[in-house]
Symmetry: C2
């Protein structure tokens, strides 16, 4: 590893302003949204073209310099942190939108385009890029693809994987691959593009992508439903799949969440006379006809499974309904020491799984309050634990590590995922065996060695070789 030689060779084709060496700047780029890691990159480079990315990767191979591909650094698993003197390769200067194609419809762009800019460009052409999430103002397209981003409308549109028509990628070996481009149908061997989607920068650096667009959802109705238990929530879900053609989201949260949000924001629970320990369901759905009461057949179908049903097609009221769900995460974070998990299991096991979590917390974590919420329609639940600031921080960390192991044990039992959306990165690397078999992990490692034989790209993320 000859960092000085590497830098010298870099300078032969990169401008001065494409290389950051100032310690403070480098530390800034060494972190994502996780707070668990010590930032420690060696420098940041900003290529402006695929050719420059390729040259950097080839040099990194030559000098055995580890690279951390970097997008908007909005991840929550440490997939983009540099902790070990890596060179951070930021795609943020490759931010051109290259082409709109009305026949697909699709937009081709460089990897450094901000999600929101892509969404806006789609809108200019009267189309919609449907993968949307809180960090759309700062996350970059390349990072979205590398992490197979999901967001709030996965039940309707799926994850980003479904919206990638083609990618251009520089592999760890330094080869440029153009995978699928603008082809909808192509059965000519293995779909290599799929490997890079969700690979967290360990196989290649995505430099360009063609992303599919769809029509803008028009009128919607939002239902807010109270159910006496989670089993009834699942019955509502099943009925919705029969009666509602286009469910945009199917969210769920428990009484604790509702009470906390109401108390933090001085909101009033919109249901009157709510029994304790209920579940709330929030459904948004497209409507196609002007009916007085949208989806009356759905409402009738859940009569036995719901305590009460509210609905609205009015923007301000819909927003009000959404606040109860959207404000949970922040409300928990404002209230004490908190611990989060973003996991998923097959939906049909969710009822039993939630009972198990509650038992566990009741028995062993009595000084924690449990908040359960998430995208029930995707089997994706956020398990949040909250305790007082008075708890010793080290004790807290120790307890939460124990809790994670117990939680992941349950997830393994139900064939679930220890990371529904956020990826493995560094944060969940120690627990990969709870969610992927030893054989799968061996195959992943072998695949890594094919595309990145010198282990240059994001070494130590997802697994150690």
């Amino acid at each position: 590893m000859d960092f000085e030689g590497f830098l010298k060779d870099l300078s032969s084709f990169l401008d001065k302003n494409q290389i950051l060496l100032e310690k403070e700047d480098v530390l800034f780029y060494s972190l994502d949204r996780t707070k668990d890691f010590e930032p420690n990159g060696s420098c940041v480079v900003f290529p402006k073209s695929t050719e420059e990315v390729q040259k950097i990767v080839l040099l990194a191979n030559q000098y055995k310099i580890p690279l951390v591909p970097s997008g908007g650094r909005t991840g929550y698993s440490g997939g983009a942190v540099a902790t070990n003197q890596e060179v951070i390769i930021s795609l943020s200067k490759m931010n051109r939108i290259l082409e709109f194609d009305a026949t697909l419809p699709a937009i081709t762009c460089e990897a450094g385009v901000i999600t929101k800019h892509l969404q806006e460009k789609a809108k200019e052409h009267h189309f919609y890029f449907p993968v949307d999430f809180a960090s759309s103002y700062s996350s970059l397209i390349g990072g979205n693809i590398a992490t197979n981003a999901g967001g709030i409308r996965v039940i309707r549109y799926g994850s980003l994987r479904n919206w990638v028509s083609g990618i251009e990628v520089v592999t760890g070996k330094g080869e440029v691959l153009n995978l699928w481009g603008k082809l909808i149908k192509n059965n000519t061997g293995y779909d290599l593009k799929q490997l890079f989607i969700g690979s967290e920068g360990t196989l290649g650096i995505i430099t360009k992508a063609t992303l599919l667009l769809t029509q803008i959802p028009k009128n919607t109705v939002v239902f807010l439903i109270s159910c006496k238990n989670f089993s009834d929530v699942l019955e509502c879900l099943k009925e919705s799949k029969h009666h509602i053609k286009e469910i945009l989201c199917f969210e769920v949260f428990d009484s604790s969440c509702m009470e906390l949000v109401c108390s933090k924001h001085q909101l009033k629970n919109p249901f009157s006379n709510v029994p304790s320990d209920v579940w709330y369901v929030l459904i948004e759905a497209e409507i196609h006809q002007d009916e007085e009461i949208p989806y009356m057949d759905f409402i009738n179908s859940i009569a036995d499974f719901s305590i009460d049903v509210l609905y609205s097609t009015t923007e301000s009221i819909k927003k009000g309904f959404f606040r109860f769900r959207e404000d949970i995460s922040e409300a928990v974070a404002m209230s004490g020491r908190f611990h989060k998990n973003d996991i998923s299991i097959p939906i049909s096991y969710m009822d039993q799984f939630i009972k198990n979590i509650k038992e566990l917390v009741n028995q062993h974590y009595k000084d924690y309050q449990l908040f359960l919420f998430g995208h029930a329609g995707d089997g994706n639940i956020h398990v949040n634990l909250l305790t007082s600031y008075e708890k010793d921080i080290n004790q807290f960390k120790k307890e939460m590590q124990e809790f994670d192991l117990q939680l992941y044990g349950m997830i393994k039992h139900y064939n679930g995922s220890i990371s529904a959306e956020h990826g493995i990165g560094l944060l969940k690397k120690p627990y990969l065996l709870y969610t992927r078999s030893p054989q799968e992990i061996e195959y992943m490692k072998s695949i890594k060695k094919i595309f990145d034989p010198n282990n240059i790209l994001n070494p130590g993320k997802i697994f150690d070789l």
Copy 2:
């Protein structure tokens, strides 16, 4: 390779009726729908469980016996033919439907379930399995997944890849992997499942799958539109993407196709006073409202791009419209010596591509008639050439080989696919470089070696190692 030893060990756990050795039977199972290969399998085995599949694969590794995974043998690329004394491993006795899950909704079944049975089971539960094609009565689910089957409604539902929630697969090494199961969200490293989808049995033998279902499409309208050239067809496509929410298919065929179908089946062209050399567009779309004229805004939007527009919501008339498209392939096959190609290119290049094909045929294949038709909405076009039975068969073969090379050269130029749906198999193996780069092919070979180090599974399909 000790075939006798292999057989003896097989007999220790397979019943007699699970092993076919009669030459005639074996030859029957040695072929798919291609006619270009000499059938030459050594025997057929019919495992009844994943464990038996695994044992067979492990034995095959031990004795170095090549295996051809076999489904309904409805493929058109020789992906399931046995030409080299391979043992055919037929999944047809693993045909149980295991579970319906109403929360996704999804059906889990063994790989040997016939497509139609799955469709019917979905219908029993008031849902729809949307991947449908002509061979649904004989093709098996495992084969559909291994070839990433498409069919007539890809523009609406995508290929089979989009409908696979999870698979169980026995790799070439003989390891059983359970990939994704019933998880909708799972970002925990590489999505290995995607590699097996479309791998034509070269990486593993799919034994079970969980397939997603959707709602049954209700009322539809069918448009039949005449356009003066292909450029106008593309304008109709673009407008349809704006104005029609749920396009179920967007098909196209040229005047030659229309005239041939009308003459073969004594049908009347439904348009009066059609100029020569027009294009016909067939669109099916879901309708949500009772309008007198569905999608009037779409019809208005294509006023400048269409000669005439017919439409109907009446079943018998819609069926009549569909016949003009559906009967083309058979009508060509009935009319002389014919040659087919199933290719795709980015839609926006289709106009120029079609001009190039026409020039090529006009200049060099004057005694052939060209028929162009296909799924224009997917960039997928069937290029058929027809000549008289009087042409010498060897001369015909030679000319068509030349034509293919010229066609594939154009496809390479436009970044297209030499096999939109049918796969590579044996038939298109010599031409893989026209559609995948040398680097991609090297990566594919390396991946093959990981999952199937002894080259036991479908050796010689897609590429030679």
